[in-house]
Amino acid sequence: MSAPVLEIREVTRRLAGVVPVTLVDGATAAFAPGDFVTITGPSGSGKSSLLYLLGLIDRPTAGEVLLEGRATATLGSDELAALRLSRLGCVFQFHFLLAELTVRDNIALPMRRLARLGRAGIAERAEGLLDRLGLADKLDKTPDQLSGGERQRVAVARALANDPAIILADEPTGNLDSRNAHNVFDIFASLARSEGKTVIIVTHEADLAEEADIRIEMLDGRIREMRRQHA
């Protein structure tokens, strides 16, 4: 087995307050390149909170998150942002596209911020991603001119913009009909299996979760079970 690209060790996330709440409690897991992982569990079990910790969007109260072998606990907010920009791609339940921007501009945002490509390169990659996701004719539309499934696919394209090693998705099919949900899920599966990206998806939907290579079940903030489903 190759070295883990993303790893959590005894990660805990606790919210302070009059009544402290533990969102994630001592979670440990490691993910290798090409792993296609789903995280399931009842509402409030800590699935999304774990994903935010994996995505370096939130910081653990205890434990460690290692990205490509590098501990992230001591990194500043700018360093974490730089890692999110170049190594991670996030998709959320709600597409969270910027309403004022066209599809093309939404996808270009991470690329423009990273500034690895020139203007022509950014345009070419945005068009390539949309073509691959079947949205080539939607380049100049704004999000309100797209269907729910199309918006979510644009969000996937945006997450892929900087060619990240890891894709994290928080219930990406939660607001889609069955056909669109399977479409989006297939895209994620292909990213893991064909391109070797580590894809971690939080989902409620058991049938979709069955398609993943690794399934993590959470309960009360703890990883109840983590199992490989396919040989």
Binding site: S48, Y52, G55, I57, D58, S77, D78, A81, A82, L83, R84, L85, S86, L88, C90, F92, Q93, F94, F96, L98, A99, E100, L101, D105, L109, P110, R112, R113, L114, A115, R158, D170
Partner: protein, 419 residues
């Protein structure tokens, strides 16, 4: 920051402003009016002030030696016992004949200095009487040939000539304001009464108009000898007036001459320090008022940016989760404020410039501290620069306050909340 980064942040800022067109327009309008008001008021004020200063420099001596001392002479007892507790009782000042001692020698010394001309004069108060009108005036005795080299009196004459003081028996040149008050014209004869009671009939040989009311309605010129006789001060002069090639050296030269001669010697700035001080107060008031206008206008920007940040909390969260830095978000909103400021400054410059051009075409005549025929307007690039810098700074600052809040937003708090 790289140009590409700036363009990206500016694009995001512009997209927010475009979304709130009406509020943005109101904010731009506020800044525009503030900038236009600043330009018009400062153009009027600086125009008038600078014109007044130009006229003062033009018609008054650049440096003037007076027959008085800046500080009373030290008492011998104080000089003899420096640092001792000396009390002088029953002091009676020495009665001295007023006037500059040995004026010929001092005049020659001053005239020998490079870059200046000097002329003596005797100045005193007199009553001018014409018909039943008595007016108090400042009577100035001059030597026409020398005076012509230190003042523009010849140029300012609207009737007669400076030389006519010599060719006309008991000739006098009156300021136009004085002549108007007396109801007198060229070649008319008036009576001049000195404080000592001496009376002289004099003929109007010239009328002078400088445009400065305080001069035109008060001063009258006659030959030095005539004024010395009238004021019973034979061979006395109480002023040595100087005109410099470079007016900016007046203060320094006045100090040097005062050190050499002991007599109080004033530069044009010191002679007019009260009015120049008033100008400074005027400028301070103007800048305060304009700053207040811009600050009020900036509340509009604060409001727009605060609203945008409130509305765009989700976008801010997503941008941060994508990998935008906190400072990027701060810059987006500060840029938005600055863009509103730039738009307001540009439009305000256009509006202000149009109003100034319209005011420049208005003609009227009015006697204030100077006679004006219309608005005197200053149209310097630096006024536009000050207005622009103020507008953009105030706007960016107004945006920076809420922008800090945007940068501090935690994406996880918002992402958990849903759409």
């Amino acid at each position: 920051m790289k140009a590409a980064d700036l363009r990206l942040l500016a694009d995001l800022g512009l997209s927010h402003l475009a979304r709130r067109r009406r509020q943005t327009a109101v904010s731009v309008l506020g800044i525009m009016l503030g900038v236009a008001a600043f330009l018009v008021i400062s153009s009027l004020m600086f125009g008038f002030q600078n014109d007044f200063i130009r006229r003062v420099i033009d018609v008054s001596p650049h440096v003037q030696m007076l027959d008085e001392y800046r500080a009373p002479p030290a008492q011998p007892a104080l000089s003899a016992y420096p640092g001792a507790a000396v009390e002088i009782v029953g002091l009676r000042p020495k009665q001295e004949l007023r006037g500059i001692r040995d004026p010929g020698k001092r005049l020659a010394e001053i005239q020998a200095m490079p870059g200046l001309n000097a002329a003596p004069s005797l100045q005193g108060q007199a009553i001018l009487r014409f018909g039943s009108t008595d007016i108090a005036a400042t009577l100035i005795g001059v030597e026409p040939e020398l005076e012509a080299r230190v003042s523009n009196i010849e140029r300012d004459l609207i009737a007669g000539s400076l030389g006519a003081l010599k060719t006309t028996a008991n000739g006098v040149i009156l300021g136009v304001g004085l002549a108007r008050k007396l109801g007198i014209g060229m070649n008319d004869t008036l009576t001049v009464v000195s404080p000592t009671g001496a009376v002289l009939r004099m003929k109007v040989a010239g009328l002078r108009k400088t445009g400065i009311t305080a001069i035109d309605s008060v001063q009258a010129y006659a030959l030095l000898k005539k004024v010395q006789v009238l004021l019973a001060r034979a061979n006395v002069v109480n002023r040595i007036n100087m005109r410099l090639a470079d007016v900016t050296t007046a203060r320094e030269l006045a100090a040097r001459i005062e050190t050499l001669n002991g007599y109080r010697t004033e530069s044009w700035e010191e002679a007019n320090q009260e009015i120049l001080g008033l100008f400074i107060v005027q400028r301070a008031i103007m800048f305060s008022v304009i700053s207040a206008i811009l600050i009020v206008a900036s509340f509009g920007i604060f409001n727009v940016i605060s609203t945008v940040i409130h509305e765009k909390a989700r976008d801010i969260a997503i941008l941060k989760s994508i990998g935008f830095f906190e400072r990027d978000l701060r810059r987006v909103f500060v840029l938005e404020g600055a863009l509103v400021g730039i738009a307001g400054a540009l439009l305000g410059a256009g509006l202000g410039s149009a109003i100034i051009s319209a005011l420049a075409r208005v003609r009227f005549e009015m006697d204030l501290i100077a006679t004006i025929q219309g608005f005197v307007l200053e149209r310097s690039w630096w006024l536009y620069a000050i207005a622009g810098v103020m507008a953009v700074t105030v706007s960016a600052f107004a945006a920076w306050l809420p922008a800090r809040h945007a940068a501090d937003l935690q994406p996880v708090d918002i992402l958990r909340g849903g759409p």
